[in-house]
């Protein structure tokens, strides 16, 4: 035999037990206790343990049943009902009605007896029947949340873990079955369930029809990918009971739900038994039967109803055995009927009796099994399937709990979830009061996530209570967060919040954080000394990404700042194959990419990058107290301004070049946008660093930057980098041989670098000094044009455009050439000139921009007029002829490199600028 029948009841009510008495909603609980939870116990008492059903008791229900407040109020409620019944005995005249009153008198006596017999503790009663092996106890999520609509793994885990813990708290053991609220499953929930020891759950039959790969048998349980057994509810069988029109409960002999004496008596008479404010409510005394599709109801006749239940029991057993036969014996299957427990008794008054008959019936040989036992026998036969999001609700998915009427709640619930993670992460080892506040924070979130609220809102008509409860939990949550953030938790307020609902009060010391966050927080993050700075440096270029000189500059500056004892955190653009985070020579380097890393438009590509930079910068700022932001050039200006506002720290910027300078003016919209961004970056900056007097003049003229807002700190050169490497190739043999005079230049092949002038100069030299050779390295848009030019002029033996060279090759050229020359028309600084000087080779520059500032003619180098080939020719000839001149200017150049242009010197000066606004230590704790 491998085809079985199984019955599962799920008992749940939202947590409606308020501290203040007489809330209308509290009566939901009283009604369910009298009509369902106690009658179910009667059934268990009278049955043998051969048949056994599975009963899920939700944590909110358990917590309410366990509460003294409930127990006292319920007892008072029963006494009140009994008092009413005595009045009714006199009031009712019809003999048939009197018999119903007597039935109720008897029944409520029994209800009270049972309640008192178990010492008002119904949980102990269910515990007893579990130990008697008459019922298999399982539970559900902590507050019956729709798990697929929780956003984080921590949230899911809390709902599952706390649900299981609550059950264990009340029953002394941990169940391995779990009722998914509303049978709502989605991929990933099973992982958390499995990790917390759950082995089986229940889903809708339709869920099994949507498996991938397909399953042929809709009554055979399957494994979810993470190893949870999914038991499908058999719809056709279950429908017999719950279907509003065709199900048993609608039978005319059964008790009518909507006729209650609470509404049928004069106000004065009934007043003591309804709500104190005079609101009429159900008393639980209903004297009529459904009768038919009529409003003229007839009196309820208990015996007839019970006989009907017997018939329905037989019908059900017949249906089940047919169903089992249909399933065959090819593979293990289970016809599983699953219901909300409150259907029995509360809605279908005779339900508990029907259930009792079902369990005691000797007329059939239906093989009952619990899901737990089924797994034990058949787990090896079950297949694994991908299972998609589904529920047992309307149309099989989420529309009951997510539609126009209730979708608004998720914004808040998810925000609470995130905040909870944050609060529990930042409060490590909290003081007792803080811990209490954190625990309460979690309770508010749990209570708010109950699926009942969205369910009630979906019903449209009666949603005020649900909306009010949600708003209450959200606002208290936010109030507590505020107190925690202000580090001012008021104990009296907190106690008041706690006492509103006696829910999970025994649970203390909740945890909700992520391992990753714990790891981050455990990392030492001390600054090295009082005077030192935490600098957040923004630059779109950083090695290995090298577009221009910016990359090298930021790298050299940041690592030498680190040598001075500062902490430098660079955020730059991601490069394929390079880590998101590394420590390079002491510099923390973070690489990020925008959400559109291949945007067609460079301007928007940069915007996208800025948003990513700011996102990371904000997060870093949560953990590190930065003293300042140091931004390099306009590309990072949006993030620089955003982070300045966000972190409330001063912004400094270094302006390396301007759009105006590059283009000799602003000629189109794109340039105007960039020009504006540059202006804005300077405007937002506390102070600006420029590399030369030239650049400073430029910013004053073009942007009207106040003179005293700028400091000139020249670019530096690392002289160590230019120590002679081992010469691998004798490159000179390719360019006329060792005896020739080699002039080297390099730069991007763009007009402003002045290489055209250089070609002209070589033409002037060709006939007189054919052994003067020009080697020009670098790539760029003009490269081919320059090469063509050389051919046209017949200068192939004089001028060599060699394209891209490696750093090592470049260093060799710089070292071994007889002169280096930079004929630029525009050069804000010209770090290459310094590199030439550092390499110990005479340097010739155009007297323009920063180049002109670095070189003092005839002292540490030679100058030429920009765009003037004759001038270039003259100075080269001077060097060619006068070895003494070469020696003298190189010596002075070396000295300058080691003093004025050393990175050590520069980083000290930069540090001074960045520290000029350092906040006082008394501001500790305030960002």
């Amino acid at each position: 035999m491998n085809s079985y029948f199984s019955l599962v009841l799920h008992a749940h009510l939202p947590f409606v037990l308020h501290r203040e008495p007489d809330r209308l909603e509290e009566r939901w609980l009283f009604e369910a206790v009298s009509e369902t939870y106690i009658p179910l116990l009667w059934g268990l008492e009278s049955c043998s343990s051969e048949v056994k059903y599975t009963l899920s008791l939700s944590p909110p229900l358990l917590e309410m049943l366990a509460s003294n407040t409930f127990q006292e109020r319920y007892l008072a409620h029963i006494r009140n009902t009994q008092e009413l019944l005595l009045k009714e005995r006199d009031f009712v005249k019809e003999p048939e009605e009197s018999r119903v009153v007597e039935f109720y008198i008897e029944r409520f006596k029994k209800i009270k007896e049972t309640f008192l017999e178990w010492n008002c503790d119904l949980i102990s009663a269910y515990r007893y029947f579990m130990t008697q092996d008459k019922v298999e106890g399982i539970t559900s999520s902590a507050t019956h949340a729709i798990l697929p609509y929780i956003q984080t793994e921590q949230g899911i885990r809390a709902q599952i873990k706390d649900g299981l813990k609550c059950f264990e708290h009340h029953f002394g053991f941990k169940p391995d079955g779990f009722w998914l609220p509303e049978c709502a499953f989605s991929p990933g929930i099973d992982k958390v369930l499995y990790e917390d020891g759950v082995r089986y759950v229940f889903v809708d039959e339709d869920t099994i029809r949507k498996l991938d790969p397909e399953s042929q048998r809709k009554n055979t349980p399957v494994f979810s990918p993470h190893g949870i057994v999914l038991f499908p509810r058999c719809v056709s069988t279950s429908k017999k009971v719950w279907d509003a029109r065709t199900g048993y409960p609608g039978d005319y002999e059964y008790r009518e739900f909507y006729r209650d004496v609470g509404y049928g008596r004069d106000h004065d008479y009934i007043a003591p038994y309804i709500h104190p404010d005079g609101i009429r409510v159900d008393t639980g005394l209903k004297y009529y039967r459904i009768t038919g599709d009529t409003e003229a109801k007839e009196t309820y006749i208990r015996e007839k109803a019970i006989r009907k239940a017997e018939q329905h029991c037989e019908d059900f057993l017949h249906t089940v055995s047919e169903r089992i036969k249909e399933c065959g014996t090819d593979s293990a299957s289970v016809t599983l009927a699953a219901f909300d427990a409150e259907l029995f008794g509360h809605w279908w008054f005779e339900g508990p009796e029907w259930l009792q008959m079902l369990m005691k019936s000797e007329k059939t040989n239906i093989p009952w099994i619990t899901p737990k036992e089924f797994i034990k026998r058949h787990y090896q036969e079950l297949q694994t399937h991908h299972t998609c999001f589904s529920t047992w609700g309307r149309n099989g998915y989420g529309e009951v709990w997510l539609n126009e009427s209730n979708a608004w709640i998720y914004r808040h619930l998810h925000a609470m979830e995130h905040e909870l993670v944050k609060q529990m992460t930042i409060h490590k080892n909290p003081a007792p009061l803080t811990q209490r506040a954190l625990d309460q924070l979690k309770r508010e979130w749990l209570l708010a996530t109950s699926s009942d609220w969205s369910f009630i809102m979906d019903q449209q008509s009666a949603s005020d209570y649900a909306v009010s409860r949600l708003k209450e939990h959200i606002s208290v949550f936010n109030e507590l967060v505020k107190e925690l953030n202000d580090k001012r938790v008021f104990e009296s307020d907190l106690q008041d919040y706690e006492e509103r609902y006696p829910f999970l009060h025994w649970q203390k010391g909740s945890s909700f954080s992520s391992r990753h966050d714990e790891y981050i927080l455990s990392k030492p993050n001390d600054r090295t000394g009082e005077k030192n700075l935490n600098i957040l440096m923004l630059s779109w270029e950083f090695p290995p990404m090298v577009v221009g000189g910016l990359s090298r500059h930021v790298f050299d500056l940041s690592r030498t700042l680190v040598k001075q004892g500062h902490q430098v955190y660079v955020i730059t653009c991601a490069v394929d194959g390079y880590p998101d985070y590394e420590i390079n020579q002491g510099v923390h380097v973070f690489r990020v990419s925008g959400k559109q890393p291949h945007h067609d438009d460079f301007y928007h590509w940069a915007g996208s990058l800025n948003i990513a930079i700011s996102e990371l910068g904000s997060q870093l700022g949560e953990q590190i107290t930065f003293d300042c932001i140091h931004a390099h050039d306009w590309i990072v200006s949006v993030a620089a301004k955003g982070l300045k506002q966000r972190l409330k720290i001063p912004l400094y910027s270094t302006i390396h070049a301007t759009e105006y300078g590059r283009n000799k003016g602003i000629h189109n919209d794109q340039q105007a946008e960039i020009h504006h961004k540059e202006w804005e970056l300077m405007y937002e900056s506390r102070h600006i660093i420029v590399c030369s007097e030239y650049m400073k003049r430029d910013l004053i003229e073009v942007f009207q930057v106040p003179r005293d807002k700028m400091t000139i700190i020249p670019n530096g050169v690392e002289s160590d980098l230019f120590k002679t490497g081992n010469q691998i190739v004798d490159w000179k043999t390719n360019f006329g041989g060792r005896s020739c005079f080699h002039v080297f230049s390099l730069g991007r092949m763009v007009p402003e670098k002045g290489f055209l002038t250089l070609i002209e100069a070589s033409a002037l030299l060709k006939n007189v000094y054919p052994d003067i050779k020009f080697i020009i390295a670098g790539k760029g848009p003009m490269l081919e044009e320059y090469r063509n030019k050389v051919r046209h002029r017949g200068l192939e033996d004089q001028v060599f455009f060699i394209g891209f060279v490696s750093d090592e090759e470049r260093n060799n050229y710089l070292h071994e050439s007889d002169a280096v020359i930079f004929p630029s028309h525009y050069e804000p600084f010209g770090i290459v000139a310094l590199e030439g000087m550092a390499a110990g080779t005479p340097v010739i520059v155009s007297d323009t921009g920063g180049l002109g500032d670095i070189i003092e003619h005839d002292v540490n180098g030679l100058k030429v007029y920009p765009g003037n080939p004759q001038s270039i020719r003259d100075q080269i000839i001077r060097l060619y002829k006068d070895a003494g001149l070469s020696f003298r200017i190189c010596k002075q150049a070396q000295e300058d490199v080691h003093t004025k242009y050393s990175w050590e010197d520069i980083s000290i000066k930069t540090g001074e600028v960045l520290a000029s606004d350092k906040k006082k230590p008394t501001m500790a704790g305030v960002k």
Binding site: E153, G188, D212, C388, N395, L402, E404, W408, R411
Partner: protein, 215 residues
């Protein structure tokens, strides 16, 4: 019928008068009203109740949150619910980038079908845009295909016809329909055989980390 009873009741009619008006009996009218009240019984009467707590509970809830997020929830195989929030810094930065007030920018949702792709921000099977009315912070995205993976961006329609992403959702898989298409068959096999450390399909939950970008 119920509507008429309610309308009369609101006019101040007694039950008896209503019964007369509607040519019915008091019992029937009461029965109807009771049924209604049963549904409605929680909806009113709160004002007269005891003060609930000593601490004042405002029940005021924020309309927006200071966080950058675009969240998706599945409603069914063809509908996904999206809601979003923006930090002030982010909307400021976007406005700064475009050099226009935030309210002047055209907001859009871009819905990408990224089923079985490693999405890099540009390589979807296809996408469609939804122009958003100003002051909108949530949307039901309808007419989606079942059993597909989607990502949604909230962003700005550039004047030059491009799109600028501001927020991006996590991927979401629309559920299958009974008898509908399937695509995880082989992935399930690989997962079962232990060939994969984690499943190849999307699972809805990731661990939320406040320092997610830090290493």
């Amino acid at each position: 019928m119920v509507e008429k009873i309610l309308a009369l009741k609101n006019k101040g009619y007694t039950i008896k008068q209503i019964a007369e008006e509607m040519d019915s009996t008091v019992g029937k009218i009461q029965y109807r009203l009771r049924k209604l009240q049963k549904l409605d019984r929680t909806s009113s009467f709160k004002k007269n109740q005891l003060p609930e707590t000593r601490v004042h509970i405002s029940r005021k809830i924020p309309s927006t949150y200071e966080m950058d997020r675009l969240a998706l929830l599945p409603q069914g195989p063809h509908t996904v619910y999206a809601y979003w929030d923006l930090k002030t810094i982010t909307s400021n930065m976007v406005a700064h980038h475009f050099r226009k007030p935030w309210s002047d920018l055209n907001k859009q949702l871009r819905v990408y079908d990224i089923s079985d792709l490693h999405f890099n921000g540009h390589n979807s099977h296809w996408y469609f845009d939804i122009s958003l009315p100003e002051m909108t912070d949530n949307w039901f995205i309808n007419n989606l295909e079942d059993n597909r993976t989607f990502i949604v961006d909230f962003g700005i329609q550039c004047e030059c016809s491009g799109f600028f992403t501001v927020l991006r959702s996590a991927p979401i898989e629309t559920p299958r329909t009974a008898g509908g298409s399937m695509r995880h068959n082989e992935a399930v096999d690989r997962w079962k055989s232990g060939a994969q450390k984690s499943p190849e399909w999307y699972e809805q939950f990731s661990t939320y980390s406040i320092y997610s970008l830090l290493k």
